[in-house]
């Protein structure tokens, strides 16, 4: 296991990129921006063939058998690769890092494989900062034009699950053309929660209302996050509520 774990101080030249299902089909621009960001940092990106989903939708809904089928396949594919596994979505990374531990707790043989994969998984911004290869900062240069006001939305599984709170903010703050604006109750959940958003639409919608009000009041032009689920929920919610804010992946702002 120790061999498979990239030491933070050893720069990784090559990574496996797991685009995730939502990024692949709904937010391909986030995946493309992530790959370009990694490559600009001098990292070779591979995409293992046939990757689909981490199994989280079924797992969060309580469908353990279905979650196992999907997660087992994905982990199996990833286990055949080497090097860090970079995921552009916090909750999918958390699924592989933490939730699979619970999902496969009764299967010691497979759990060992899942753990070896989990040890290699990094969320995109976490990886970039760990590698000390943040994209070239341009903070020193005086901005030529008005900066874009950005609200960072810390998605729950990235912040509370993986404990990644600083990396995305540091990366955004290093960009001279961006101005990070504070948001009231920023760490409060946006109300997505996977199947929760469609099974409990009233509660999810009430949480979304609050988040939209806070984002609007922040004066931001863009809300950026590192989770495709939250982004789709926020983008669709803001559009429904007539807000002009744009939602995009943090990687898209670092390009």
């Amino acid at each position: 296991m120790a061999d498979a774990t990239p030491h933070p101080s050893t720069p990784s030249r090559r990574v496996q990129f797991f685009p995730t299902c939502l990024v692949n089909d709904f937010l391909p621009e986030a995946g493309i921006a992530s790959v370009e960001l990694l490559e600009r940092a001098g990292i070779e990106v591979e995409r293992p063939r046939g990757l689909t989903c981490c199994g989280q939708p079924a797992y969060n809904a309580g469908f353990r058998a279905e979650a196992k089928r999907v997660a087992r396949r994905t982990i199996g594919l990833l286990a055949r690769t080497v090097g860090p596994i970079v995921v552009p979505s916090g909750s999918c990374a958390d699924m592989l890092v933490h939730q699979c531990e619970e999902l496969f707790r009764d299967e010691p043989d497979f759990l060992a494989i899942a753990r070896a994969v989990a040890a290699r998984v990094r969320e995109l911004t976490q990886f970039l900062v760990e590698q000390s290869r943040p994209p070239a900062a341009r903070a020193a240069a005086a901005p030529q034009r008005p900066r874009t006001r950005v609200a960072y939305h810390p998605s729950c599984h990235l912040a509370r699950g993986l404990g990644v709170t600083k990396a995305p903010v540091d990366l955004l703050a290093a960009r001279a053309e961006l101005e990070l604006v504070p948001v009231a109750d920023a760490d409060e959940c946006c109300g997505f929660g996977g199947m929760f958003s469609v099974k409990q639409p009233e509660i999810s919608g009430a949480m979304l209302d609050r988040k939209c009000r806070a984002l609007e009041a922040s004066g931001a032009e863009v809300v950026a996050s590192c989770d495709a689920g939250c982004l789709l929920h926020l983008a669709g919610g803001m559009r429904r509520r007539g807000l002009t804010l744009r939602a995009c992946h943090v990687a898209e702002l670092l390009g």
Binding site: D25, C53, P57, E66
Partner: protein, 484 residues
């Protein structure tokens, strides 16, 4: 007893009513906002707070690991202190025990401390049916009783009310002039309750902690009412869940430190009480009339199971480490939007969404573990670090295994697992989904449309649906590789 009261409307209706209740949100936001800020400050003042929390967690887990022997030790030590210890398997047994104790001692007027476990077993109704008058003495619970309402938070029973609501309640029920000034409202309650304390012959409390090593009960309050409930009446009965044990007095001290901080943002509660038994009999030769000890003549502890042993044996045993501080309610975005009553039973919020189905059984309560976005704020704030999201998930899994999950979600998940393990088919299916979505879309988004199938309806009820991309990430990747 295990089924929800028949009068309870379905969960979705309770949620809908609460989500649309602006008054409720105003009241809850005001209180939880203050509590969160105070909690943060209180923990900042605690040296090695993380270690104290670890210690508190370890003490509770130790109790759960050896609950049977710990209970026997507590019983023996409490008896040695002169406390009568009783065991109640369920709510009915507990109710009957309290009524029997009251009858045997000739008690007719009870004063009560705030206690969620007595709410859990609907003790007040049972006492009144037995002809025993019972008055709640916690200010919030007193208002609840005046309104014939239910508490909506385990620490702040009337978090759903504003001070204006309380003023109107007192005006109506106590025939006093209206005021919304908190000090005047407190003075009114104090005056009424003082008379009740002096006339009561039975004091009923819960027990925040039952300390094994000393056989004593630990109680906390801020209003002083618990001191009076446990000392003024002739008889004191404490109802205590069997999970409330802590091994030692040192553990108890640490527990109080994290409980007060988590519950109300205090370093310590205004009144922190240890009950060590009834008043002692004067030694032989004591001059008549000299007071050697005070307090009740009898102290009874009723140790209640009511679903706890069954919970201990399952995946949700960890919830029994809960010390009822309420911090998880205050940070929960779901609780803050739907309030406590929507949860339908005694315990609301994240801890309630796990505890209620655990104690009462999942049937009838399957919706509670669904009412969470799994954001994890509860786990972070919990003073004993209970992994609430893990148990919300295990209860969801149980619901799928045994519960009435509809055919549509089952088929959807089957289809999902089928496609997500077959990338080529998934690709085709997504192209098809895109074609269908596009027909209903405007500018690339499906807006609120009546007659959409289940999942899409749930989504578009609150937000627009983004049409899947024409060119996926995989398309881009393959094209780039092809041209490279």
């Amino acid at each position: 007893m295990s089924a929800p009261p028949p009068a309870l409307p379905p969960f979705a209706e309770r949620v809908r009513a609460a989500v649309g209740d602006a008054h409720l949100h105003e009241a809850i936001d005001r209180a939880t906002g203050q509590l969160q800020a105070r909690r943060g400050a209180a923990f900042a003042s605690l040296e090695a707070a993380d270690l104290v929390r670890d210690h508190a967690r370890a003490a509770k887990l130790e109790v759960l690991a050896r609950l049977d022997t710990m209970l026997e030790q507590f019983e023996a030590n409490a008896r040695a202190n002169g406390i009568a210890v009783h065991w109640a398997r369920d709510a009915e047994e507990a109710q009957r025990l309290v009524v029997e104790i009251a009858r045997a001692a000739g008690c007719r007027r009870a004063v009560k401390a705030k206690s969620m476990v007595t709410e859990e077993i609907h003790l007040n109704a049972a006492l009144e049916a037995a002809g025993i008058r019972v008055v709640e003495t916690d200010l919030g619970e007193y208002v609840v009783q005046l309104r014939a309402d239910r508490p909506s938070h385990i620490i702040l029973p009337i978090i759903h009310l504003t001070k204006e609501d309380v003023g109107r309640t007192m005006e109506e029920k106590l025939a006093v002039p209206y005021t919304s000034a908190p000090q005047e409202l407190c003075a009114l309650a104090r005056e009424r309750l003082r008379a009740e304390f002096l006339e009561a012959d039975l004091g009923i409390s819960g027990g925040n902690f039952a300390i094994v090593e000393s056989g004593s009960l630990g109680l906390v309050s801020n209003e002083g009412n618990i001191r009076m409930v446990t000392t003024l009446p002739r008889v004191h009965v404490a109802l205590v869940g069997i999970e409330k044990l802590v091994p030692t007095l040192v553990d108890w001290e640490r527990m109080v430190q994290v409980l007060a901080r988590s519950a109300t943002g205090q370093k310590i509660t205004v009144y922190t009480t240890l009950v060590n038994g009834p008043r002692r009999v004067p030694p032989a030769g004591t001059p008549a009339g000299r007071i050697v000890d005070e307090g009740p003549e009898q102290v009874h502890v009723i140790l209640l199971d009511h679903g706890r042993s069954a919970t201990l044996a399952g995946d949700e045993a960890e919830i029994l480490a809960c010390i009822r501080c309420g911090a998880c309610l205050n940070v929960c975005p779901v609780f803050r939007n739907i309030g406590g009553h929507a949860y339908g039973d005694t315990y609301p919020g994240p801890m309630g969404a796990v505890l209620t189905p655990s104690l009462r059984g999942l049937p009838g309560w399957e919706e509670l573990p669904q009412a969470s976005s799994l954001c994890g704020a509860c786990r972070d704030v919990c003073p004993v670090r209970i992994d609430l999201p893990r148990m919300l998930l295990s209860l969801r899994a149980k619901g799928v295994e045994r519960g009435p999950v509809g055919l549509v979600p089952r088929l959807f998940m089957k289809a999902y697992a089928f496609l997500a393990t077959r990338p080529r088919l998934l690709r085709l299916a997504m192209k098809l989904a895109r074609a269908c979505a596009r027909r209903r879309a405007r500018d690339g988004w499906v807006e609120r449309t009546p007659g959409l199938p289940g999942l899409l309806r749930g989504w578009t009820e609150q937000r627009d649906f983004k049409v899947p991309a024409a060119r996926t990430f995989d398309d881009w990747w393959e094209r780039r590789r092809g041209s490279a």
